[in-house]
Amino acid sequence: MAGDAVIATVGLTKRYGAIQAVDDIALQVRRGEIYGFLGRNGAGKTTTIRMLLGLIRPTAGTVRIFGHPIGGDQRWLRRVGFLVETATAYPNLTVAENLDLQRRLTGATRASLTDAIERLGLAPYADRRAGRLSLGNQQRLSLARALLHSPELLILDEPANGLDPAGIVEVRELLRTLAGDRGVTVLMSSHILAEVAHLADRIGIIDAGRLVEEAPRDVLAARARDYVRDTFTDAERQEALLTADLERYFLAQTGPERTRTTP
């Protein structure tokens, strides 16, 4: 199993003084899988992701990406696309200019720039300054930047942040296609179970810096069903189902023409 691990951490730990941000995490993300990294705000997801990308140094433990220890030569990052925490870009540069900087620094082709803009639905905004984009479009720009150089591994921290429900579905489909058709490995963090459950093959739950549970999605879903059945009333379960139905209806009404329905 370790042999085909794209991401492998052993005893990954990060302390800030007395604060234990990440505590002894062992992650194994296999080639071509979508791994959901689930946890509440402040659980340690972003700190872990920053360590995976070499942005911060672990207090203890090791990280291997594609079998290589991180640090030193950064060429392995050519195979990685990422989005860390909030979407950021150079506000004075346009969408196309922001992506062009990324293209130049990753050695991607000019065609990939157009492709990324089209793929993330940013064509109408290509000449708009990034500082004038809506939050959702800033998130799309960050996702386009992550995908621009056709990486083999995507590390995405809360990729649905700021996106409307239709945008969330679009990104979900995009990631599913990348993983299914191109064999791209995806590690995505979220604090929303529904978002992860739609997409992930395996889910790891992090709490207070520790990986408290890790299982295939179906196994975790079965556990969740048992928990919900034993813990919540029928009325509460009906309420939850109604919310999900309303969301689907909203998506149908606001999505592309072909999916629109008559009330």
């Binding site: 950064q74 870009a89 150079y90 900087l101 620094l105």
Partner: protein, 257 residues
């Protein structure tokens, strides 16, 4: 890839307002000197126009090309320390202010190259500013028809100004280090301005030749370079090296949240 790093830094600077703000600010300075020369040359008219206070004392000041050149060199040295601190703090600090540092530092490019790329762009822009400043200043000087114009004066002014510009730039990596360490513009600018204030204090304590900011000020005040011991130049080079190495190490081994 290094070329691409420099090019991307150039693109970022080209689209920023700081480029034009620094150009405008630096090109205003010779007009101030010109006004001063004009007042010194014709104090009665200046007084009639209300440009001189009743306690004005212009004794010992002269409106000549050598004096004009001396002021230009002083502006390049002392003003350059402030302006370069502003430029370098902006180039590095904007990455933290805009939250783009994390995007930059997780790219398949050695992090030290980003520091080098930004300093190369700072050097390039600083060179453009100094050349534009000198060209404008000489045009203004010729327009004022100051006495004492000669090829020797022009040559020595240009040489001194370029020497001061280079000396000021040797301290740019220290500002870069302060920016990366503090992850903000303001702390770096504070440190740079504080160092400049300290430079004045050191000038009174006899340690000026050992403090790099004081060395630049001494050079800019027309004190002949021969008056400075070789250790002063060594101090400048060491400050440059320490800033560069420190910035590289911090980017490479420090936490970059």
């Amino acid at each position: 890839m290094t070329g691409q790093v420099v090019l991307t830094e150039f693109i970022k600077l080209k689209h920023s307002a700081v480029t034009w703000v620094t150009l405008g600010a630096f090109l205003l300075a010779p007009w101030g000197v010109a006004l001063f020369m004009w007042i010194v040359r014709d104090p009665h008219r200046a007084a009639d126009l209300g440009l001189l206070g009743t306690k004005a004392n212009l004794a010992g000041l002269e409106a000549t090309w050598p004096a004009f050149g001396g002021y230009l060199v002083m502006i390049v040295g002392a003003g350059g320390l402030v302006l370069l601190a502003f430029i370098v703090a902006f180039l590095f600090g904007r990455e933290y202010a805009d939250g783009t540092a994390k995007n930059l530092l997780a790219l398949p490019v050695g992090r030290t190259w980003f520091a080098v790329g930004k300093l190369v762009i700072a050097a390039g822009w600083w060179t453009v500013l100094v050349i534009a400043f000198l060209i404008e200043s000489f045009c203004i000087g010729l327009g004022l028809a100051l006495p004492g114009f000669s090829a020797v004066v022009v040559t020595s002014t240009v040489a001194d100004a370029l020497g001061c510009a280079g000396a000021a730039f040797l301290l740019a990596p220290v500002v870069a280090l302060a920016t990366v360490w503090s992850r903000s513009y303001l702390a770096a600018l504070g440190i740079a301005l504080g160092a400049l204030a300290m430079a004045n204090l050191f000038a009174h304590t006899g340690w000026a030749t050992w403090f790099p900011w004081s060395v630049v000020l001494i050079l800019s005040q027309g004190v002949g370079q021969a008056d400075l011991p070789w250790t002063s130049y060594l101090v400048l080079v060491l400050a440059f090296a320490a800033g560069l190495v420190g910035t590289g190490l911090l980017l490479r081994f420090g936490d970059n949240p």
